[in-house]
């Protein structure tokens, strides 16, 4: 129980998110209407993605300090999970945008910033594959991921604030900010962030274990 309590917590929180997120009373806002429920399934993806990227950067730094491949496993799998969340976030966002803004893609700073972020992390994966030596690969990709993260943060936090976004809560659009994010929404929103992030961490740790087993088997084959 000690080791997997958080997995139980993840299942419980996600079950709560799914039921409450689809069933609770939400405020009726112009344009948004029922699509405000995207808050629990789309907006939370970005929070999960950023949190997992922070974890990946943390392990990247740890790897640079110690040179231990175990940290590199964690870094790459958390990045993979973050990319998955990013892709899901962009897809759900596009579906949502089609219904509220009438187009799959608009020239919105937040959309563009997230697309650029994904490009950055796809490039990270290409870079990893182009290196053959495991230690070299771990070190250089850790350096790139920290460097890219340092460029990604101003992109998503500063640039959207300089030009107006179509997103709810920006530029006079109705949204979830101070005056109209009611406490009902919050009761689901925060648990949803934690639940999705835990799910991401769960996926990553499973993949890390697969990676370690594969390495063990490879070593066995070589030493035979």
């Amino acid at each position: 129980m000690k080791a997997y309590w958080w997995k139980v917590l993840a299942i419980a929180l996600l079950a709560y998110t799914l039921t409450a997120g689809l069933l609770i009373d939400v405020p009726r806002l112009p344009i948004l209407n029922e699509t405000i429920r995207a808050l629990f399934f789309h907006v939370t993806m970005w929070f999960g993605m950023i949190l997992m990227l922070v974890v990946a950067v943390y392990y990247g730094i740890k790897h640079l300090q110690t040179g231990d491949l175990a940290h590199d496993d964690m870094a790459v799998e958390f990045t993979n999970a973050a990319i998955l969340f990013g892709v899901v976030g962009i897809t759900t966002g596009m579906v949502w945008a089609k219904f509220t803004w009438g187009d799959y893609w608009t020239n919105d700073p937040k959309l563009n910033a997230s697309a650029i972020g994904l490009l950055m992390y796809f490039a990270y994966l290409v870079l990893r594959n182009s290196l053959t030596d495991v230690y070299q690969r771990a070190k250089i990709s850790a350096v790139y991921s920290i460097f890219a993260f340092a460029a990604f943060i101003p992109l998503i936090f500063i640039l959207p604030r300089l030009t107006d976004s179509l997103h709810p809560g920006n530029g006079g659009n109705p949204g979830f900010n101070a005056y109209d994010m009611d406490s009902n929404l919050r009761k689901v929103f925060y648990p949803a962030i934690i639940g999705w992030t835990l799910l991401g961490a769960w996926i990553s740790t499973i993949r890390v274990r697969i990676r370690r087993l594969e390495r063990k088997m490879e070593d066995k084959l070589i030493n035979q």
Binding site: L64, I116, G117, L119, M120, F122, A123, V126, L127, S130, L131, Y135, Q136, K139, I140, A142, V143, Y144, I146, F147, A148, A150, A151, P154, L155, I158, L159, L162
Partner: protein, 221 residues
């Protein structure tokens, strides 16, 4: 440390001067890119709209600086790299390469500006601001490109890798520079640019600082 950097920058410049084909090649690259754009647009002097002029100019600068900086870690022999490794600190190396590449990018941008103005006409109203913006853009470009070229050189340095690694990192700098440059061309009040210029400076500082911290790890491997 400063002495080391000055010597290393001088060395870069000397090396460039000795193998003139590299610098001549990249200068010619800018001119032919501008001329190709000119012929493809089929536009005469002054007939290009300001946003198009601006975007075209910055894209050409982006591609030429990626090409110019890509060679910074491969131009020299591996044995000579080992020699620098022994006598110079990694911080001095990354800073000196960044400074040298800033100068190089600035030269490219100025040359591009002159040729662009020649064939497309020069709509810039606020020239000092435009120049300041060019300087800041060149600093940001070279700081991130130098670091990325160091990474790409470890991975066999193919051109595709250099481009895909650097474009997403460069976009915030490029966007800020394009916006300021648009305002400079229109000659708008300088005060409205203050926030953007500060943002550009902050991004530059962030990129330079992270390159400074991370490069030693790369250099050691």
């Amino acid at each position: 440390m400063w002495k080391e950097i000055v010597i290393l920058v001088k060395k870069e410049a000397l090396l460039e001067w000795r193998q003139k084909y590299a610098i001549n090649g990249i200068l010619l690259y800018v001119i032919s890119a501008v001329f190709t754009a000119y012929l493809s647009m089929g536009a005469g002097s002054g007939s290009l709209q300001v946003p198009v002029w601006n975007a075209l100019y910055w894209i050409i600068i982006l591609f030429s600086s990626v090409n110019a900086v890509a060679k910074s870690f491969v131009q020299e022999h591996q044995a000579r790299q080992l020699y620098y490794y022994m006598i110079a600190s990694p911080e001095a190396i990354i800073l000196s390469k960044t400074i040298y590449n800033t100068l190089l990018t600035l030269v490219l941008a100025l040359l591009g500006y002159v040729v662009f103005g020649l064939v497309f006409g020069n709509p810039v109203a606020d020239k000092p601001l435009f120049m300041l913006n060019l300087l800041l853009g060149a600093m940001g470009f070279s700081a991130s490109l130098t670091m990325v070229s160091a990474i790409a050189s470890k991975a066999g340095n193919n051109g595709t890798l250099m481009a895909i690694l650097s474009f997403p990192v460069l976009i915030p700098i490029l966007l800020m520079a394009i916006q300021v440059s648009k305002n400079a061309i229109d000659g708008l009040d300088r005060e409205i640019n203050l926030e953007k210029i500060l943002t550009l400076l902050a991004i530059n500082a962030l990129v330079t600082a992270s390159a400074y911290i991370l490069f030693p790890y790369l250099w050691r491997s």
